[in-house]
């Protein structure tokens, strides 16, 4: 994994865009792992169709994850002959297998490890020289000492030599990109989500760790304190969701991050934030479910619980970043939208984005910041916390405001907040809470729309970028609608985006076609709507989406 990190950052310094995803086995430490990298001279935000090169240090548990490493007959597999024969699953792909004695090369000099030889080899093939790698190497090795650094550099040199000794025709031709004027960012989806939270104004976070969302919380812990905020580790997810509601009651924009099992535990608290009307933001980095599922691998199967999970009629915000850098802007938007609408916002990220690293152009600074509509209160006049307003947003007081004293309540209540079982109070408060979402302005953010072909590919989350690539390769047959705002519904914008569309293809990573059924139930769509869906962990790739587009185009 260190090798992958060094390579992607060094390549980025040399001018490449890149994407680095990890595939990990179930072991806590060690065990099988693969660093999956894709480079290009324009932004790379999806994992592509297949790999040009597989560098195998060993074949441990390869059968468990070979399916995650699609190869073509013209792909190249570099394998270490000391690690045993090329296994059947790999041979079956007809990829060209070439021996590269990594371990043996490493033994030829003291202090050299095979992983550095491999790094040197691939780096050389990409046109990187050891100098490009040196600063990343120093960063990765930290203070492990001169000797280790020298051994590593020697390993890189030997790797480059080994690369030269291999048949020249195995390498695709690469042209080193021009050096950069402005440094790019190297960022994971989880880091981007954390930064988005801070940019949006979040200053209180309650945390209970769970894969694959923990890095958001670990990143926020030190960084929040740098902007005067705080993160507290709590006893469970019931505590985290309720603590952020408490902090929000106090006036502080608040957030927590979790994954499916944690979201399940938080539902009651989320419902309270709907009923008592408090803004909070919850990021769910989805993994395989149900139950403990596949903690380390991606899926988009929490769609239904995020949309429909709460009991009662509980309007709230659900949105999903469409790419790694978009984790920043979508979380930032979610925080400000939650504050504006005084309700919870659920952000559906997934392992695929959260734990992958991308090289991206630095995002624009600025963007929306939490702004709560505060009440003008006078001492003496009875303050109505849940006043019925035209846009449904009731000006809120916070403790400390004299004359704004009220009791927030999850019980059905009247305008003042006094518990009420009266039909008219219940009806008018339900109407009000729906109204504030209907009036929430989502026009600029609701979706990524691109192309104008007659087949609309509607995707969401981390599959948006794979869909975009498929649309771009469809020769005008398709258009992309990558939905970012799932709730509140965006009927008008959707109708506009579907103008001229004859067929719809819905793409998602789950077993039950959850998004497909949601779209069919809530939107008016053309007659032909097909679904391309499968559970994790194998990401749906552009080539598969393209094939589905082609098939739909074909049967008129």
């Amino acid at each position: 994994m260190t090798v992958g990190q060094i390579l992607v950052d060094a390549a980025a310094r040399a001018g490449w865009y890149g994407l680095f995803r990890r595939s990990l086995g179930p072991q806590i430490r060690g065990g099988e792992s693969a660093a999956l990298l894709r480079f290009g001279d324009r932004p790379i935000l999806n994992h592509g169709d297949s790999f040009d090169l597989l560098l195998a240090y060993d074949w441990g548990n390869i059968n468990r994850f070979a399916a995650e490493l699609p190869l073509r007959p013209d792909s190249v597999v570099l394998f270490d002959p000391d690690a045993g024969e090329v296994p059947e699953v790999i041979e079956r792909t007809d990829a060209r297998c070439v021996a590269a004695p990594l371990a043996q090369t490493a033994k030829s000099a003291p202090g050299v490890r095979a992983n550095m030889v491999g790094l040197g080899l691939v780096a050389h093939a990409l046109g990187l020289v050891p100098e490009d790698l040196k600063s990343e190497l120093e960063k990765a090795l930290g203070d492990k000492g001169e000797e280790i650094l020298a051994g590593s550099l020697e390993g890189l040199r030997l790797g480059a030599e080994l690369c030269e000794s291999l048949p020249a025709d195995i390498w695709p031709k690469v042209v080193r990109p021009a050096p950069l004027a402005v440094p790019r960012w190297s960022i994971t989806g989880n880091e981007a989500a954390g930064m988005g939270a801070i940019r949006g104004g979040v200053r209180f976070v309650a945390a209970y760790p769970i894969t694959p969302s923990t890095e958001i919380l670990e990143w926020l812990a030190p960084n929040l304190t740098r902007v005067g905020g705080q993160l507290v580790q709590v006893e469970d997810e019931l505590a985290s969701v309720n603590m952020i509601v408490g902090a929000s009651f106090g006036g502080t924009p608040s957030l927590t991050a979790t994954s499916g099992p944690g979201l399940s535990l938080m539902l009651e608290g989320l419902g309270m934030a709907v009923g008592a009307e408090f803004p909070i933001t919850l990021i769910d980095v989805q993994r395989g479910g149900p139950s403990t599922g596949i903690p380390t691998k991606s899926e988009q199967s929490d769609f239904n619980i995020a949309v429909y999970g709460m009991h009662g009629d509980a309007p709230h915000i659900v949105c999903a970043p469409t790419s790694i850098p978009d984790c920043l802007s979508t979380v930032q938007w979610a925080v400000s939208a939650a504050e504006a609408a005084q309700c919870p916002a659920i952000v559906l990220s997934d392992q695929n984005m959260g734990q992958s690293r991308a090289i991206v152009d630095p995002p624009k600074s600025g963007g929306p910041v939490a702004e709560r509509r505060l009440a003008q209160v006078e001492d003496g006049a009875a303050y109505k916390r849940y006043a019925l307003t035209n846009d449904g947003v009731s000006p809120m007081s916070v403790p400390g405001m004299k004359g704004g004293e009220y009791t927030a309540d999850g019980l059905a209540h009247n305008e003042r907040g006094t518990p009420s079982t009266q039909a008219s109070d219940h009806q008018s408060q339900l109407d009000k809470r729906l109204r504030k979402l209907e009036t929430l302005d989502c026009d600029d953010v609701w979706a990524e729309v691109a192309g104008d072909g007659p087949v609309a590919v509607i995707a969401w989350g981390s599959l948006t970028e794979a869909a975009r690539e498929a649309v771009e390769r469809s020769n005008g047959a398709a258009r992309l609608i990558g939905v970012r705002v799932i709730l509140p519904l965006q009927e008008e914008a959707m109708a506009k985006a579907l103008d001229g569309v004859s067929k719809v293809l819905v793409v998602e990573q789950n077993h039950g076609a959850q998004f497909f059924h949601f779209l069919k139930g809530h939107y008016s769509l053309p007659q032909t709507v097909e679904s391309l869906h499968r559970p994790g962990p194998l990401p749906i790739r552009p080539v598969e989406i393209l094939a589905a587009i082609t098939a739909m185009k074909g049967d008129a």
């Binding site: 993160l231 509601v245 106090g250 630095p362 009791t407």
Partner: protein
């Protein structure tokens, strides 16, 4: 604790105009009186006080005061109160609820709130029963209490020991009161508010509807915790002979609280520099 107001205040100013749903004779009325009297006695400005509660008859108390209130969900009053206190250390934060709310569904939060020792006052109106859901056994009901349809042969497990657990978990102010002794309760609540740390008060508060025999508790209680121990081990030893009716402040000691680290605010682009290659 927040700033006090100079002029005389009437405790009824701290009561709201909402009529309680409580049964006539319920012990919780006296707790409401004691809380409002303690706030008045301390002269705390209403806008700087927040009372957070869960769900249950007793948890209805939040709406009956005129300070900022939060009537939340069953068992989660303490997390809400702690989130508020961490975000707004300037406020006086009180938390209140029942024995089911605090010791059963919210039991885990109770232990961890004791450990964190934030400057909060937590009042549990312990009626040895679930009042709101009409009379089931609570964690503090006796093992052989057979009056509930849900456990006709009794809950069959020994009762939860609130004071023992609060002490073991790290609460820094631990007391037991009786709703029938309002003056003592008022004084204890005021002291708890002034104590810088997590103060826990178990208030024996009879449910006259589902535990009518609790009316007689007035004859059983005795003020045995005369002087508060400042040594936790000594306090635990005192509990060995406790019959559950000893009243008074058992333990009180100023101890470190959980404190989030705070630094001066840096500009955002300073933070974002870490991502640039």
């Amino acid at each position: 604790m927040n700033q006090v107001i100079a002029h005389e205040v009437d405790f009824t100013d701290y009561k709201s105009d909402v009529t309680p749903v409580w049964c006539p004779g319920c012990g919780d009325y006296a707790v409401l009186s004691a809380i409002t009297k303690a706030l008045a006695g301390l002269g705390l400005a209403r806008e700087n006080v927040a009372l957070i509660s869960g769900i249950g008859c007793s948890s209805r108390i939040a709406a009956y005061t005129s300070v900022y209130g939060f009537h939340g969900i069953h068992g989660r009053a303490l997390p809400i109160a702690q989130g508020l206190k961490l975000a707004r250390p300037d406020l006086t934060v009180l938390c209140a609820g029942g024995d089911g709310d605090g010791f059963s569904i919210g039991g885990n939060h109770f232990m961890h709130a004791c450990r964190r020792n934030l400057d909060l006052t937590y009042i549990v109106m312990d009626n040895n029963v679930y009042g709101m859901t009409k009379g089931q056994a609570s964690p503090t009901s006796a093992a052989d209490w057979t009056e509930s349809k849900l456990t006709p042969e009794g809950p069959g497990v020994p009762p939860f020991q609130p004071l023992d657990i609060a002490l073991a978990a790290g609460a820094s102010h631990v007391a037991r009161c009786f709703s029938g002794k309002v003056q003592m309760l008022t004084k204890t609540i005021a002291e708890a508010i002034q104590h810088p740390g997590f103060s826990f008060i178990q208030v024996i508060s009879p449910c006259v509807t589902y535990r009518p025999e609790m009316r007689d508790f007035k004859n059983l209680v005795h003020e045995s915790f005369t002087e508060a121990c400042t040594d936790r081990r000594e306090a635990r030893r005192r509990l060995i002979d406790d019959d559950g009716f000893s009243l008074g402040t058992l333990f009180k000691s100023v101890e470190p609280s959980y404190k989030p680290s705070h630094r001066n605010s840096e500009p955002l682009d300073e933070l974002e520099r870490q991502f640039a290659l």
